[in-house]
Symmetry: C2
Subunit: 141 residues, 2 copies
Amino acid sequence: MSSPEGSIAAANLAFYEALEARDLARMEKLWLHEDSASCIHPGWHRIDGWPEIRRSWQNIFASSRSWTVSCEQVRISLEGDVAWVTCVEAISPFGAEGLDATARMQATNVFRRQNGEWRMIHHHASPSPGGEGSQDEEPIN
Amino acid sequence: MSSPEGSIAAANLAFYEALEARDLARMEKLWLHEDSASCIHPGWHRIDGWPEIRRSWQNIFASSRSWTVSCEQVRISLEGDVAWVTCVEAISPFGAEGLDATARMQATNVFRRQNGEWRMIHHHASPSPGGEGSQDEEPIN
């Protein structure tokens, strides 16, 4: 895991582990605490700046039930000190059975390397085919 | 428009002009033609690699009706030769009247500078509040 790609994959995995654990402290550790940070939760408007992003995670963790989260189809792109990772998030309510209970989200995660560590600077997740809110018709933009 | 931010804003605008014009040649010109390119249309799975991305735009332009497209709340982040732009896309069927006819999408657009030109390498668009498919409940990641 000493290659840049390995470190980026580990940073991306840490995000989904923090999400599954609903652990605000771990979420705080992996984000860049900057005004330029931004976050788009599924179906929501963009949230700008770390303080508001932190508050959104706090609300999500306070109100949501336990879930299991996994991350599939990970694709990593790297250029200098920026990496963007795309993947499919599979989120299942804890204890639920069957495929229908799993929501799948397409995600774009942007990381920036700061002091040798890859930290999240942008997260965008949205419903995917086979998941909640998916569409079967032809895509429009 | 000679600052990097100005050039990135222009590249982002060129994307929405090509989308509004449903002009495949302009779309071809502004994307990087690489296997690492990726595209997530609203509600769709990720499309990987320029040939498949090109085909998706060809299908969209062939099947969709005329529309007007504008781009709001543009936010540009830049690091070395990579920029990521977030914005809200407002897409209205041509001739339609009233706010309800406008679909709003949250977008994340990643550009890479190559030979001095900013070209699109990743596009992710998804339904936004007030637009098609929006949600009013608490966001879940």
